[in-house]
């Protein structure tokens, strides 16, 4: 596996202090504000695959969509190279559409059911004049071949293809514009185990061959470790830990990261509650560490202060007042959990 020493050079995209609130509509009563992203900062370097890992509701998909301008942030900046896109609203992304692409979770619904695969592939080529009109059929055939499909698939309609085949087409469509960054949102989670491996290998190969950077959103830390150079773990709208994939996986510092790693290994560890019951025991959730309610290691400070995401020297950062020491094992003594 080719883990490149990242980051280096100028970032391709930078997110600074990005905050995004949803108003949950209560038609008559006051609308409830739900914070999907909470002062998130992140750099993505050219050619790099950054994994966004977290549970549902962690804000990873929201962050991915904000990167592509599909959703407007409440505050904060999104830089593409040095261009602050968020400041210009939707229009900011206009000139960069070609450079920023996306692969979706559900392969079937990411294709308009009314058009054949070939015409779905041809449209972006035409829109951006990637190749002369006459060469479009040849180019689409070529694209299909690159993702391991026979060019004849072009004549079929989306529903005639299997999930794995469609996901290949989706990747072909994304790379056809030769983008600088692809956001892949749970791109393999709906696929069968045997197919998932094929797609992961394909994505990996594409990254190496084209140097296209990727933001890979997944709930599966193992998958992220395989594909990503760096991983950012998100919890309730915040990045709680970020670092090179393998190191982060092998040596988690944030308790949440660790429980994700343990969950993969079949261990429950110290997690005791569901997220929706978590805030029950926190006096003022607005001031506490997001994770405090579920955290077995929490100390007094965790309930009154939000831990900042502090970068360390080894490209790693975590937002925890009591991070796990390097090399800590699962059985290492944790502070006693003052339950109920």
């Amino acid at each position: 596996m080719s883990i490149e020493p990242t980051p280096r050079g100028a970032p391709l995209m930078s997110v600074r202090d990005l905050t995004l609130d949803f108003l949950v509509g209560q038609r008559f009563a006051a609308a409830r504000r739900v914070r999907a992203l909470d002062h998130v900062s992140l750099d993505i370097y050219p050619g790099e695959i950054v994994g966004l890992v977290g549970e549902s509701g962690s804000g990873k998909t929201t962050l991915g969509r904000a990167l592509l301008g599909m959703i407007a942030p409440s505050s904060g900046q999104i830089f593409y190279r040095s261009d602050d896109l968020a400041a210009k609203g939707q229009a900011g992304w206009g000139p960069h559409r070609r450079d920023l692409q996306m692969v979706f979770q559900d392969p079937l619904s990411s294709f308009n059911p009314r058009f054949t695969i070939a015409s779905a592939l041809a449209l972006p080529l035409k829109l951006h004049a990637i190749c002369p009109e006459a060469q479009i059929p040849a180019t689409t055939g070529d694209l299909l071949r690159r993702v391991g499909l026979r060019p004849e698939f072009g004549e079929r309609y989306p529903h005639e293809l299997s999930g794995g085949q469609l996901q290949r087409v989706a990747i072909a469509r994304a790379i056809s514009l030769k983008p600088n960054l692809i956001v892949a949102d749970e791109a393999v989670s709906k696929l069968d185990v045997s197919v998932r491996a094929q797609i992961l290998n394909l994505l990996n190969r594409m990254n190496r061959e084209t140097g296209t950077g990727m933001v890979f959103i997944t709930h599966d830390l193992g998958v992220a470790r395989f594909l990503c150079h760096r991983i950012a773990v998100m919890y309730f709208g915040r990045i709680v830990e970020i670092g090179p994939a393998r190191e982060l996986f092998d040596n988690p510092r944030h308790p949440y990261t660790r429980s994700l790693v343990q969950a993969r290994h079949g261990d429950l560890g110290a997690v005791v509650t569901d997220a929706d019951e978590a805030t029950l025991s926190i006096p003022d959730p607005a001031k506490a560490c997001n994770y405090a309610a579920r955290c077995a290691r929490r100390i007094g400070q965790c309930l009154t202060q939000r831990p900042p995401l502090e970068p360390g020297a080894d490209h790693r950062a975590n937002a925890c007042f009591v991070p796990l020491s390097p090399g800590a094992t699962v059985s290492e003594g944790d502070p006693v959990h003052a339950a109920e």
Partner: protein, 321 residues
């Protein structure tokens, strides 16, 4: 040590969908048995027929489905010939099922409390359902049972709902729980907790479990034995360790290799060519088109299940000697 009694015995189960003359088979001659207290894992990718097998056992198939088997015994009683009404009497209290989608499993118009009340009353020997409901909810790791009882399903997360569903099943104290991908839609951490709960309560109740999943790792943790399904057939069945460590069928072996390569963090994942699902060939082994070891004979005749080890069978011509 004498082996525990056989709880459920299935032989040559066939289930198909559609109208007469144009039936699509989903399950093609599945046979297995589950002993008391045993957890059997039913593993397969989409379209392998694992869910249909579970639904068939509980007679929960949609109307246009057609089911048949030579033997279907529960505790030695023939279940196949039972009237619908008689079968209903054992449903829930003897055979229960946990479904994949916790949100859809609850009537959205009714509170959780109502659901639990009905489940507890279904067993029929309770004076104070409310106290019992609270106790069971606490038992499945819910901290504020009162709040949950008064909530509507849409107000709770999937994890909470799956706990509540589990609570309903625990209240019924069945002897066989069919768990159909109960954690697929849940987050990893919650998934772990639910699995843990299932395991704990299985032991507490002394119940058997038929655990349907696509995830080898989970099956490996929960199950005593594992059956791998492909295209409506069991292609390999045996004790968990045997199957996971010494898979005999190329498909099972391929799946395991894939998982293993991911867990190891290989640079290139092991790939199984092709995709599951699709049309089942009329003759021969259904896996043959994807099989790296396929021989001419594989597309000629359907391989039988052959013994490949102690209590370990595989449906592959490679092992037919």
């Amino acid at each position: 040590m004498s082996a525990p009694a056989i709880l459920l015995e299935v032989e040559d189960l066939h289930t198909s969908f559609g109208i007469k003359g144009r039936r699509t088979p989903a399950v093609r001659g599945v046979s297995f048995m589950i002993r008391e207290g045993e957890a059997l894992g039913l593993i397969g990718e989409s379209g392998s027929g694992k869910t249909v097998t579970g639904l068939s056992l509980l007679r929960l198939l949609p109307e246009h489905a057609h089911m048949d088997a030579t033997v279907l015994n529960y505790r030695g009683r023939d279940v196949l010939g039972m009237s619908d009404e008689a079968f209903r009497a054992i449903r829930g209290v003897d055979l229960a099922m946990i479904f994949q989608d916790p949100v859809g499993s609850f009537n959205p118009a009714k509170r959780i409390g109502w659901h639990l009340e009905q489940a507890i009353l279904r067993r029929g020997d309770t004076q104070d359902w409310h106290a019992e409901a609270e106790a069971i909810l606490a038992d499945v790791g819910i901290r504020a049972p009162e709040r949950v009882l008064g909530s509507y399903p849409h107000q709770l997360s999937g994890g909470m709902l799956q706990r509540a569903l589990l609570a309903m099943i625990i209240a019924l104290r069945p002897s066989l729980i069919i768990a159909d991908e109960p954690t697929t839609n849940l987050d990893n951490l919650v998934e772990r907790q639910i699995l843990e709960l299932i395991r704990t309560h299985q032991r507490k109740l002394g119940a058997s479990v038929l655990f349907i999943t696509h995830d080898l790792a989970i099956a490996g943790e929960i199950c005593d034995r594992i059956a791998v399904m492909y295209a409506g057939q069991i292609i390999e069945i045996g004790p968990t360790r045997e199957v996971l460590e010494r898979p005999k069928h190329p498909y099972a072996a391929g799946l395991l290799a894939t998982s293993a390569s991911l867990d190891r963090g290989d640079a290139e994942l092991h790939e199984l060519p092709g995709e599951p699902g699709g049309a089942i060939p009329v003759r021969g082994c259904a896996f043959a088109p994807r099989c790296a070891q396929a021989m001419a004979a594989c597309s000629e005749r359907s391989p039988p299940l052959v013994v490949v080890g102690p209590d370990h069978l595989a449906r592959c011509l490679l092992h037919e000697h």
